[in-house]
């Protein structure tokens, strides 16, 4: 191996994004993240069915936050949608990530949820960088790196003629 005298670390610390380790790690992250949301959603479905009453209460409690007007609108005028939507969409987002189906679309949904959790949950006692923000960034990572292509079904779906003829579908797959 040739050694670069000016920067001896230049080769030893190379990160190859096409390397097998990246796919392995993205696949692992996707499944764990998917389980996180699937568990949150499916246990709400078991306990409350499609009537998760805390959803609108949580949103209305965000009145004084940066997303106050949006959150209170959702919690008040769209409460009929939020009650079934929270458990249902959490479950579907989790399922999408677990299986790697419509991964990017699912991750966008997850990012939407995490944005509300981040702004609504936290008192930011330890700063604005907290576990909710990390969850939000995790969904961003799923989108950027198309995590469904690694050990996920999106890899096979994207190989179908239907998707090949409609390449823009890869914005929601992958």
């Amino acid at each position: 191996m040739a050694t670069h005298t000016a920067n001896p670390f230049s080769e030893g610390f190379t990160l190859e994004l096409s390397g097998p380790l990246v796919g392995y790690w993205l696949g692992l992250l996707r499944v764990v993240t998917g389980w996180w949301f699937f568990h949150a959603g499916v246990t709400k479905l078991i306990e409350d069915g499609l009537n998760y009453a805390y959803g609108p209460v949580f949103l209305k409690g965000m009145a004084g936050t940066s997303l106050g007007p949006v959150a209170t609108f959702l919690g008040t005028d769209l409460a009929w949608l939020v009650k079934p939507g929270v458990p249902l969409f959490e479950t579907l987002i989790g399922l999408g990530l677990l299986l790697g189906v419509l991964t990017r679309l699912a991750a966008v949904g997850g990012a939407f949820f995490m944005t509300l959790f981040w702004v609504g949950n936290a008192d930011f006692a330890h700063g604005v960088v907290n576990s909710d923000l990390m969850g939000l960034l995790l969904f961003g990572t799923m989108i950027v790196f198309a995590a469904g292509r690694y050990f996920g079904l999106d890899a096979y779906i994207e190989a179908t003629d239907f998707v090949k003829q409609r390449p823009r579908l890869r914005y929601v797959l992958g």
Binding site: M1, P20, L21, Y24, L28, V31, V32, H39, T43, I46
Partner: protein, 96 residues
């Protein structure tokens, strides 16, 4: 620097990943199917008394995940300790 994985590499990172996924996902599914509590903590009433416990001790689940991470860490050290394998050269030749 070698960027491909051989059978040993795949076996070890497969084991590490499997331990992580068993601790988090597989035993999580078991907990949900077992009924309340669905999380990893005991269920308590308003008085603070434990009314239901988890099927699998959360310490077992965290131990599996930590073990998986340790396996991956040790694999990283193993990879770091390996000599450089040039193109066209076998690993045995590189070690020699």
């Amino acid at each position: 620097m070698r960027h491909t994985f051989d059978g040993v590499d795949k076996l070890v990172i497969g084991l590490g990943g499997a331990l992580v996924l068993v601790g988090i996902v597989v035993l999580g599914i078991v907990e949900v199917l077992d009924g309340p509590p669905y999380g990893a903590a005991p269920l308590t009433n308003d008085a603070g008394d434990v009314v239901a416990t988890t099927l699998v001790d959360p310490n077992v689940r965290t131990a599996l995940v930590v073990l998986g991470i340790v396996v991956l860490l040790l694999w990283g050290v193993y990879r770091m300790a390996q000599p450089t394998v040039e193109p066209g050269e076998t690993r045995e030749e590189a070690w020699a």
